[in-house]
């Protein structure tokens, strides 16, 4: 790893004494506490960071309502400095629908995992999308039920080893995976559908622009918006943390290539589908 013998180590215990500009604080404005109980190498705090950064940058913190599903990320909802509602397993899009209809001024987004959204509550998200509800659903997709031990979900890809598909998922026994973002992109009610990932710094920046765009489109009030974010789960995948980004590319990343799948909104001055993908 060490490419330079005796490369000088910089003191990083305190801020430098010469004039500097702070470009990134430990936690963004809307995350109160950085400490959490998620595993080393988890992709979910990375995804939550970029969502909260977008809300802070667009000055929506007083209008934002997060609706959380059930999963590891639910524990992280305590760290957020915005209103949070806890929904039943898989039912977050319906709760968000109710909140948004009651107060159209809200910026409502759901945070759900693949087990929550695609296994437990598939009809909720599909009907919300088909109705064109003006909410944003954020899916943190890692292809396994991370919280309960790393077994197969509906998005686990063919050949992927999980705790209950030790020989790899096969279509004879377990059927085919559901590519949820592609499914929602077919629905007329959806205005913006994109798929990002957080397995490297470039993908994090790209995914942040997708979330930005999704919130923008929600504010236009022209339909349902959806961002799928592929996240690492080294604990549930039983791989080393440093191998997890490449493992993501080799498993769920193959069938679910990142990019903007649907964007019917008129172009705004910021990002458009051509610049994101």
């Amino acid at each position: 790893m060490l490419e330079f013998e005796n490369r000088r180590i910089v003191d990083t215990s305190r801020p430098p004494e010469v004039p500097v500009k702070l470009v990134d604080d430990f936690t963004p404005e809307l995350i109160d506490v950085g400490a959490h109980h998620l595993c080393p190498g988890c992709g979910e705090p990375i995804a939550m960071r970029l969502v909260m950064e977008v809300l802070a940058e667009q000055e929506l913190k007083n209008r934002a309502l997060a609706v959380f599903g059930i999963g590891c990320y639910t524990a992280f909802s305590n760290n957020l400095d915005c209103e949070v509602v806890q929904a039943l397993h898989g039912r977050a899009p319906s709760v968000a629908t109710g909140a948004k209809r009651a107060d159209p001024n809200l910026v409502t987004f759901t945070v759900q995992g693949d087990g929550d959204m695609v296994n437990e509550g598939l009809q909720e998200v599909l009907h919300a999308a088909a109705r064109g509800e003006q909410i944003t659903c954020v899916l943190l997709n890692n292809g396994v039920f991370g919280e309960t031990g790393g077994h197969m979900t509906a998005t686990t890809t063919i050949g992927q080893r999980t705790k209950n598909t030790l020989e790899g998922r096969n279509t004879d026994d377990h059927g085919h995976p559901i590519r949820i973002a592609s499914l929602i992109a077919e629905l007329e009610g959806a205005a913006f559908v994109a798929r990002g990932a957080v397995n490297n710094a470039g993908n994090v920046a790209r995914t942040k622009r997708m979330v930005e765009r999704a919130i923008e489109v929600q504010l236009l009030g022209i339909g349902f918006t959806f961002v799928e974010i592929l996240t690492m789960c080294p604990t549930g995948w039983f791989v080393e943390t440093e191998e997890a980004p490449a493992y993501l590319d080799d498993t769920i990343g193959v069938a679910n290539s990142p990019g903007v799948l649907r964007d019917i909104a008129p172009d705004s001055q910021s990002s458009s589908s051509t610049t994101i993908s």
């Binding site: 060490l2 180590i9 400490a35 943390t241 440093e242």
Partner: protein
């Protein structure tokens, strides 16, 4: 070694044989680190390195910063544990590239 050994180090700007320019620097909250290595691979100029002999109080290895940081925020954006605070120097700092060989490394 020279910059030729690091094809991804464009723009870091080694000024001459013995010194290197840093455009940015970090404060690292080593106690918050869970040792996942994501920052090591994310760093474009490759100036983060995991400790080899030192652990934090929770038993994890943590990253140390080598001279040559560009302040690009790749580490802070990828870190799941919010370990990094990123600063950019108003005037880039040019400092020695190496440290004495007998000084212990963490």
């Amino acid at each position: 070694m020279t910059t030729a050994s690091r094809p991804d180090a464009a723009g870091v700007g080694e000024t001459d044989a013995g010194s290197i320019m840093s455009r940015g620097t970090l404060v690292i909250d080593t106690e918050a680190c869970k040792g996942c290595w994501l920052c090591i691979d994310a760093c474009p100029p490759r100036v983060l390195e995991m400790t080899t002999h030192t652990l934090n109080s929770r038993g994890y290895r943590y990253p140390v910063l080598l001279a040559g940081c560009t302040g690009c925020r790749a580490c802070s954006q990828i870190c799941p544990d919010f370990v990094f605070q990123v600063f950019k120097y108003e005037t880039p700092v040019i400092a020695p590239l190496t440290m004495p060989a007998d000084e212990p490394r963490p």
